[in-house]
């Protein structure tokens, strides 16, 4: 099973089972040094494993990056990704 943050890429490369985490890339299991959140995300992914029925399926784990659901992190991520151009 693949656990990833890039839904658009996972939908193109069709891993047999994919778990989508709606976090910024490079922070799949939460912010640095948050062991509880690391474990929560991993446990959610493992709990979904028996529910996959066909190759290429993507399961949304229902994780959100900001507690208030804000998507302001997307603008920061764009800047970060383009930083090393």
């Amino acid at each position: 099973m693949v656990i990833g943050t890039a839904f658009d890429i996972m939908s193109r490369v069709t891993p047999p089972r994919a778990a989508f985490v709606d976090h910024p890339v490079g922070r799949t299991f939460g912010p640095p040094h948050d062991r509880q959140r690391n474990e929560t995300v991993l446990a959610r992914a493992l709990a979904e494993l028996p529910h996959f029925t066909r190759s290429g399926e993507i399961c949304d784990l229902g994780c959100t990056w900001s507690p208030d659901g804000s998507r302001a992190w997307e603008d920061e991520l764009r800047v970060e990704m383009l930083h090393d151009r």
């Binding site: 890039a6 490369v13 910024p24 939460g30 640095p32 446990a43 992914a45 493992l46 190759s55």
Partner: protein, 156 residues
């Protein structure tokens, strides 16, 4: 709506053409035979991770892999991947390689057991055929030797 990475990656690679994504030549599917609580699990990472004592990955097109002991106390993890998003995970590799979380789930009997080793390689390599025909089979052989039931690939 999920963040769209492909347009940003295309902007990042311009004026070169956008990266071509490689899908498997045939669908891969293997039934899950045991519950997670009775399964042995290994982590796979495309972040080009290694122990500080291991040989560094070479940039960009390195097709080798590293065997990383699954004990969270086995040593410091280094991220060799060249991606610009590496600044945050380099503060704490566990956010892309949850070695400690997996060991904790084993201790809590949520997961059956740990593979003796996890594995990492360089993501974003453009030699798709070599990945499918050489790198992936080599890692699959390692997983079989470790008697792994479930492999979790954390994409980077």
């Amino acid at each position: 709506m999920a963040f769209e990475y492909l347009p940003v990656m295309a902007q990042n690679s311009a004026p070169k053409p956008p990266r071509v994504l490689g899908a498997p030549s045939k669908p891969a599917w293997w039934p899950v035979k045991s519950p997670v609580s009775q399964s042995r699990i290994a982590l796979l990472s495309s972040a080009a991770l290694r122990l500080a004592t291991q040989q560094p990955f070479m940039p960009r097109e390195d097709l080798s892999y590293r065997r990383i002991h699954s004990d969270p106390d086995a040593g410091e993890i280094i991220i060799d991947h060249h991606s610009g998003i590496g600044r945050v995970p380099k503060q704490d590799a566990e956010i892309v390689f949850p070695r400690t979380a997996l060991a904790s789930l084993v201790a809590g009997k949520v997961v059956g057991s740990l593979s003796p080793f996890h594995f990492s390689f360089m993501g974003g390599v453009r030699q798709h055929k070599k990945i499918e025909n050489e790198l992936a089979p080599a890692i699959a052989k390692e997983l079989k030797q470790c008697e792994v039931d479930l492999a979790l690939l954390v994409s980077y």
